[in-house]
Amino acid sequence: MLPQNMGSETNIKLPFSFVFFSLIALVLSQILLLLKGNLMVDGSFRIPAIWSSAHLLVLGWALMAAMGAMYQLVPVAFLTNIWNEKFGFVQFLITAAGIATFSGMLYWSPQRALIPGILTLLGILMFLFQMFMTLKRQAKPTILTAFVGSALVCLFITIFMGITLIYCLKTGIGIEYYQVIFKTHLLFGLTGWFTLLIFGFSYKMVPMFSLSHGFPMVHARYVYGMYVSGLIITMISFSTNNHVLLKMGFFLLLAGFSVFSWHIKIVIKKRLKKKLDKPFTFALVAIGFGNAIHFAAFILLWTSSSSTLAAPLIYSYILLWIVLSIVSYLYKIVPFLWWTYKYSKKIGKSKVPSLKEMMNERIVVPVFSLFIAAVLIVFCGLIFKIAILFNTGQFILSILFIIIALSILSVLKK
């Protein structure tokens, strides 16, 4: 039997601290990319400014936003309180200091990024410990626990590989394995951590935001099995340099993602809410993009241009799947946090606004549509090596990110 008082209200200052930091990191990463991104057009991805921007975006924004969202959603999805909120605040301070100095060092002096990297690692390890202790309290683990738990394991591997990369760079030891470690770092960071996490929470949020009822959940097991097998086989293919295994791994990743898309379609068909909220609709659009990019990545393995198109595909995967999903869900999560803080003691006593009234939804369709268009422009700029396309798309993106950040923050005025 489920406990009566599940106390789903986390101290909102905790998730909000992460979300605030993430929004600032998002804007900074885009400005940096705008200033130094022209080098990317020539195929120069592995330069300090791009490392710095990429880590500000992936660690500073996406990881911090994901951590903030997890501090809010884990108690809700797993019906358990956060293990220790004070520990959470300390973890925030350490991780924020670590990511800020790490991104700075990657820009100014990559050889000195080891110490800030270790500080970031410590913050992330503290987060993993916090989540491990929280999930341990869950009375009955579900398939969502498998997705989120595996995502956390992937996050640990990603960070471990990242620190190993810096160590190789600094000491020269194991430099012959640099490529293998780098590919594994990307694989587990993007498809492991973020995708598994979005899958897991989508199974909670999609039915919740669409009020779906009576849908099957058996597909989720196949999604998990195929996607995790795909990750493991792809990782093995990197270390053995086996192209057949790589194709197998990518096929399983594509199959897992496709079953997930199909499953979400079934859930949406069973919805009671006829008209879906606009930000949530874009979270569903992001699933389509993620699936299409997995398909393109698998097809590219059979062509000779896979190495040249890898970077533009990874870029579009980050922006059109991970970033679009997180931004769309932030438009739902942030109003909820603020509403809980401001109105949870007033409901039943006086008239309170609905969550929909907390956010200006009118800008969502034009801003998100332009966002998709701008990413596609940058994508074309990277593929065809046309600087003007890249710069135009990136300029629009930077402006849009600032609008999105301000629009999300505007909820605080409500």
């Binding site: 809700v76 009671l272 008209k275 909820f336 809980t340």
Partner: protein, 99 residues
Amino acid sequence: MKLKEKILNELKTVYDPELNINVVDLGLIYHIEVSADADVRITMTLTTPGCPLHDSITSGVRYCVEGMEETQKVEVNLVWEPAWSPEKMTPEGLKALGR
């Protein structure tokens, strides 16, 4: 009007902030018991066990009924059996969802 009906009517002012539908039309209120001393016990559910607005909605129901002059002590009993289903919604609730 009987006190039970009055309470039910009053509860129509408590809205699920995500769906913007009141708890009565949403079919969340299962049972209202009123004792001879006007103590009230409300048995209710939520659309899903992991509802993020769990505390807010149940507190809202309690605050609302506590605010009525005719009532004394108010207790909210949250249950998951029988589970909520769309059939428990009123025609007004379904209409608000576009059905």
